[in-house]
Symmetry: C2
Subunit: 209 residues, 2 copies
């Protein structure tokens, strides 16, 4: 099992989400998808600023995302509406995971693509309602659920659990009790999956190509 | 040329410093070593906290450093005195770079090893004086220089230049106008050196091993 923690507002999370299922399959692992909220971990718990509003780091990330997308061969475009509100898609994800856990990953990928490939605003309930229909669920029922306190609590519990586990960034992979943060560390995740040790990279291949 | 920005207080900078010259040689590049100060970039300019004092991130880094050192096959041990004061070794580096620029990298590596392999406290002028002698310079002259306003200003200028270039973390590599941050991105630096493009990793090899 690979526990995959992500926030839909995170383009780095998106770049990882487009690759994690294939990587897991290569090593006969399943992926469990877990929502987390950067607004809670980064701002509330760590007391830091949003990435793009951090001096020096904002411009770095703006230059970094396109090259990382290119390296990973994942289409990435910044939507006109910008960063979406995190709660509606995260709640919708919780609902799908409760209704049809086996399709949760598929739904998460569809939401990520809608935001970071297709320019759709995944903060809008109607957009989310259309997306749940692509995984065989009822859009009208999602719209009702999005208004409920139950769903809000369900997300809060999951986010609390992510903090308790020590997750602070998107994406974070947890595998065999090892936590790996960052879309730039897929190489490290794969090293673990392939070798189940942190022995020298030199023993595996000339590093890294 | 690879511009290599580092702070001696940074164990991630150390892990990269132990590898950057070999990597550069492999691709017929030279390394220019540049001091930066995390206290200036992270705390003053970005307004963030020191890494180890940041909730969630501190424990992550504590678990991450040993495994990264193991993967890179670089010896790493935490000295009893802890994180050194950054100014004395950074100033000593500036002095060596002025006196004998061709030996600056060698000196930086010796200082890093003293701190992160040998448990020596590189905040102590006497330790630094011994280290400059290993690169053929006069330890007594360093001790005098460390008291001078000139050397203090020289470091300040270099740190200002690093901020102006957008450097915020240690290590940072700047190559052909691309800035790459983090010891976990040596693979990205090598990809650029090998291909001079951000074309898909898949075109180079199965990613990453």
């Amino acid at each position: 099992m690979i526990d995959f923690y992500f926030d839909f507002i995170s383009p780095y999370g998106y770049l990882a989400a487009m690759q994690v299922e294939d990587l897991a399959k290569k090593y006969d692992r399943k992926v469990e998808w877990h929502p987390m909220l950067l607004g809670v971990s980064v701002m509330n718990v760590m007391g830091l600023k949003p990435l793009m509003e951090t001096p020096l780091k904002g411009p770095y990330v703006a230059a970094d995302l396109p090259r990382l997308a290119s390296l990973y061969n994942v289409p990435l475009s910044f939507p006109k509406h910008g960063i979406p509100k995190p709660l509606p898609p995260a709640r919708a994800f919780c609902w799908v995971k409760e209704q049809a856990p086996e399709r949760a990953g598929e739904f998460a990928m569809a939401v990520y693509k809608a935001q970071w490939q297709e320019g759709k605003n995944i903060s809008e309930p109607e957009v989310l309602a259309n997306l749940v229909q692509t995984v065989g669920l009822n859009g009208e029922r999602l719209l009702e659920a999005l208004e409920s306190e139950t769903l809000s609590l369900s997300l809060r519990e999951k986010v609390d659990a992510s903090i308790k586990r020590g997750v602070f960034g998107s994406p974070t992979f947890a595998v065999d009790d090892h936590m790996i943060w960052g879309c730039d560390r897929l190489w490290m995740l794969e090293h673990w999956l392939a070798n189940k040790s942190w022995s020298s990279l030199a023993k595996v291949s000339s590093f890294p190509f």
